[in-house]
Amino acid sequence: MIVLDSAQILDSVKRSLETHVLPALSDDFARVQILSALKALAEVSNRLEIGDPAERSNGIIEAGVRDLANSIRSESPDFATKLDAALEVRPEGNAPRDRSRQLGEALWELCSGCQAPPADQLLALLQAEALRTMGEDNVWMCPEAIESLT
């Protein structure tokens, strides 16, 4: 079906589920699954439109780490060099999440168990980015799913 782009296919699946499947379901568990699926489809549409959130997050962390390395280069040259090295290493895979994993682990190694001020700054940077991405995840939150569990 080359004439339809991915977003159009997703939208038609979404409409079909909403129009034909949801009203026909009397089983609560099945209904919650469909409602959750609709949220997941919305997230996929979003990714098609604005890109993979992992790629964005990697870019933000890389820029933040580069800035941090430059700002501490005179007082903590060793730590700055370690930050540079962590940025240079590339993961084996090419997917954004391969980079997230490799970079996340390398940077965590640098700040874990280290009390030096630059390590605290690095930890704060990683934590801030974790909180930022968390905020973006609201799109696939399905209240009915949570209600069925609490």
Binding site: R101, A130, L131
Partner: protein, 331 residues
């Protein structure tokens, strides 16, 4: 998550006739999924025996899920022991070790009659007297759980040891299910390891003590369910759970906490309580985030997406809890 699919009534019937003849089951009439659980999946099993129809609950150990490692045999032994000790838990009637019958090891339990109230329940919102009676019972039942002896779960000699053991369980779970590095959770685990507090006493903990895990009959608790997170530790940990992940109409805080303290003689120590609130947040967040891992591994319950989202939000609270605890430690 292990799923009972297709018509399994016949294989189950055959297995029960062979492996559990003491149950006297002639026919398995139906198997119906009970929808609420996120981890071990529960099913209502209608059967026919020489004495007439019976209804059992089948709890199936998942192949993978959000609270690894699973050990339904341990849950079976614990339930058997605490039921004998007088707690209103389902009676266990059979443990099936053969995972091929329904896609996982399973246990059969008696069906507990009653209703479950959820935190959004309009009946509780509309009837303050009913809510107050339920809160009283909620506290009384937790006190009874904390007094119940058991010999199934690992015991510890100090509060520090019990707390560190739970931190280690969390760390292990995170290691197994973390799809991307979680700096906030990893840091919180290190913090909890470093600041494990002593305990006034150690007790059996339910670990998931909240309204949806209780059955009620005529305003009385007829069943305490879902013991897969039970462990031994500081009783304040269960109170902290009701204030965080299990927060709702029966959160044990303020006057309710004072009543629990009066009933049990266990002091409500703010520092320990704060420590366990952080630990419960970390634990709940790890369990929630494991929902994403479960889906990546082939799980099919899409509610896990929302659970993972809610859990991720827990990370925002961890920093503030750590700061509060640090301030208390320095005071």
């Amino acid at each position: 998550m292990a799923e009972v699919t297709g018509n399994l009534a016949l294989p189950l019937e055959k297995a029960l006739k062979n492996n559990a003849p003491q149950l006297g089951i002639d026919r398995v009439l139906s198997i119906e999924r009970l929808t609420s659980g996120l981890s071990s999946q529960s099913y209502c099993v209608e059967t026919e025996t020489a004495d007439g129809p019976t209804r059992l609950v089948m709890r199936v150990e998942p192949e993978h899920g959000v609270i690894p490692p699973y050990d339904i045999a341990r849950e079976y032994r614990l339930l058997g022991e605490i039921h004998e000790a007088g707690l209103p838990t389902p009676g266990v009637v059979h443990l099936e070790e053969d995972p091929s019958i329904v896609g996982g090891r399973f246990m059969l339990m008696t069906f507990v009659e009653g209703v479950i109230y959820r935190n959004m329940d309009a009946r509780l919102k509309a009837d303050p007297a009913l809510l107050s009676r339920m809160q009283e019972q909620f506290i009384e039942m937790l006190a009874r759980i904390h007094e119940t002896p058991q010999h199934v779960l690992s015991n510890y000699t100090t509060g520090e040891e019990a707390a560190r053991a739970e931190v280690a369980v969390c760390r292990n779970r995170l290691m197994k299910t973390e799809l991307l590095p979680s700096p906030i959770i990893r840091h919180a685990l290190d913090f909890l390891d470093e600041h494990a507090p002593p305990a006034q006493c150690l007790a059996l903990l339910h670990g998931d003590y909240r309204l949806p895990n209780l059955m009620w009959k005529e305003d009385t608790i007829s069943g305490v369910l879902d013991w897969e997170l039970a462990r031994v530790g500081d009783p304040l940990s269960d109170l902290a759970f009701t204030q965080t992940i299990g927060r709702g109409l029966c959160s044990i805080e303020g006057e309710l906490a004072a009543r629990y303290a009066e009933r049990t003689g266990i002091e409500i120590d703010e520092r320990r309580l704060l420590y366990y609130r952080l630990l419960e947040m970390v634990k709940g967040t790890i369990i929630g985030l494991a929902g994403a891992y479960d889906l990546a591994q082939g799980g099919d319950d899409l509610r896990l997406l929302s659970v993972a989202r809610i859990a991720a939000a827990g990370q925002a609270i961890m920093g503030s809890l750590e700061a509060q605890l640090e301030a208390l430690l320095e005071a």
